[in-house]
Amino acid sequence: MALSSPRGTLLGPKGWTGVLAAALVIGVLIPLLNLAVAPDSAFHLSEYYVSLTGKILCYAICALAMDLIWGYTGILSLGHGVFFALGGYGMGMYLMRQIGREGSYKSDLPDFMVFLDWKDLPWHWAWSDSFVLQMLLVIAVPGLLAFVFGFFAFRSRIKGVYFSIITQALTFAAMLLFFRNETGFGGNNGFTDFKRILDMPLNTPGMRVFLCVLSGAVLIAFFLMARMIVNSKYGRVLQAIRDAETRVMFTGYNPVAYKLSIWTLSAVMCAVAGALYVPQVGIINPGEMSPAASIEMAIWAAVGGRATLIGPIVGAFFVNGAKSWFTVAFPEYWLFFLGALFIAVTLFLPHGIVGLLRKKGERS
């Protein structure tokens, strides 16, 4: 019998078709329907839907990051919102500087600093005038935070629900810190009123479509990268850590290095999503660091189907699509619905939506 490694290829023919279809929808269909079709036509895609899609694409990146750390490695983070928000704040600082003198106070400094009677930029804003340096911070700051936090947590062998609680505390502490005016991030109002990015106006249909397409491209790139990771031996070690960590240790692997690397990568993915998100929604405030925001990310992954990669992306679209409809139709009941959905998925669909579809596919 000839043995071979069972997961050799990156994607099957079906998988590549799916990726291509997604790329076409995001890269061609959405721009065409929004920009080329006349606004009074039935096929016109309104700006609301373009920015909604862009927003959900960013959420989907977070869900994908959750899948790597929770679905594959078995580490439930309830604090990924902090990395998303830090990425968002990094981008927000740059966008604030791009406003220039067009703020309400007509000052060189961002409005909130004038309001606080600050005379100079604080030290941590030193790079905020440079797009390149600031984007470096978008990756480096959340990455470093994740690395240091993960190093101590994993080295101390903090696991399971204890780890989840600590991550929840981390994002909550960060939120309280960012609420303070002294921190230099605009307090509870955060940053808003953005005007330009790279000296180009933000509030144009073209820019909106571009950011949406960019988010989609990043999502697809991250998806392929994640696929490569879980197909490698490294990815199988991650799953082994999830199933039986002691066995992994007694086989000679040091789980700390594996957990720390995927944890940091997952945090950086969230940060990139946050940086893409902020110019599209036009605001970032400490609310993004609220515990509930991080828990929602876990729900997207669970609803779509853990350890499937595609599942959490589907879950992000499903839950957020439902949210945007629900909060308009029945604003009071959204949280009840979200809770019920989570319970229903946990009880009846342990493998999420994708698990259900796969089961159906096997039967027919």
Binding site: Y234, F250, G252
Partner: protein, 282 residues
């Protein structure tokens, strides 16, 4: 300098340069077995909240030896294995692997890389991976993150996996998810994973628990073929299995209250008054 000296010098340099390549880079130190001792446990004591799980335990395992360890529940058998594999640090005492590796200074993964394999009491396999993948992960190779990211199986490695699949009678189940195997098959898979690591010392905690009689017999046969090539320490309650393994001529160690109560042939040990007392109660 004479030409032959220069020649010798150049050759020595070549050998020196070639050496790190031939040695596996992930093992920092090879155990030295020149003195015929594979495992040397001296006077180890472990206490949990005042309770002495191990009390000045001494044990020596020779290279290639198969040693069975028996003892009533709570005698400290599993704690002893924990000390050897780095899971528990003893309060005092020494544990050496070969005559040069101090196991008390190494972490669990380092001990495993040095060549100590351990099987748990409860079969511990990666439930969501296939049998093949379970073995692949155990395969002796560079354990670092970057190496795993880009690792590809070579032909020789595939052959080795195939060989072990035959040894553990799971060849037809290679692509099956490990979680779907029977209890006995999982035990076998875990033993197979140990074999993939190619350890010099195997610690087996109740390896036949939950196996059928036929599976138990096959396991005994397998262990007997490993004897000599590897050193084995088998903790077991099943006296019939111990009898089969020792073949009436090998030493058995009886643990009781954290220290060695008796050591000798199974038949002698079974007639030892102290042992009978411990097992049957006064």
């Amino acid at each position: 300098m004479t030409p032959d000296l220069m020649q010798a010098g150049a050759e020595a340099l070549e050998r020196h340069k070639a050496k790190p390549e031939s040695r596996p880079r992930f093992v920092s130190q090879e155990p030295y077995f020149g003195q015929g001792v594979a495992l040397y446990v001296q006077d180890i004591t472990v206490s949990f909240d005042g309770f002495k799980a191990l009390n000045a335990l001494n044990l020596t395992i020779d290279v290639g030896e198969l040693r069975c360890i028996i003892g009533p529940n709570g005698a400290g058998k599993t704690t002893m294995m924990d000390c050897i594999t780095g899971k528990t640090r003893p309060d005092s005492g020494k544990v050496f692997f070969g005559s040069n590796i101090d196991l008390l200074r190494l972490s669990e993964p380092q001990i495993a890389q040095a060549g100590v394999g351990r099987k748990f009491q409860k079969p511990t396999v990666y439930e969501h991976l296939s049998v093949f993948e379970n073995l692949e992960l155990a395969l002796r190779a560079d354990r670092r993150v970057r190496a795993s990211l880009f690792s590809r199986l070579s032909g020789a490695q595939l052959d080795r996996i195939g060989e072990v699949l035959v040894t553990i009678h799971l060849k037809d189940e290679a692509q099956r998810t490990a979680g779907l195997l029977s209890h006995g098959q999982k035990q076998w898979l875990e033993i197979g994973m140990l074999l993939m690591q190619d350890p010099k010392l195997l610690l087996l905690d109740e390896p036949v628990a939950g196996m059928t009689d036929e599976e138990t017999e096959r396991t005994a046969e397998l262990f007997l073929t490993l004897e000599g090539k590897h050193s084995l320490v088998v903790v077991e309650h099943d006296m019939k299995f111990v009898d089969e393994l020792t073949q009436g001529r090998k030493k058995v160690t009886v643990l009781h209250e954290g220290s060695v109560l008796a050591e000798g042939l199974l038949s002698d040990v079974q007639n030892n008054e102290k042992v009978v007392e411990v097992y049957l109660g006064r």
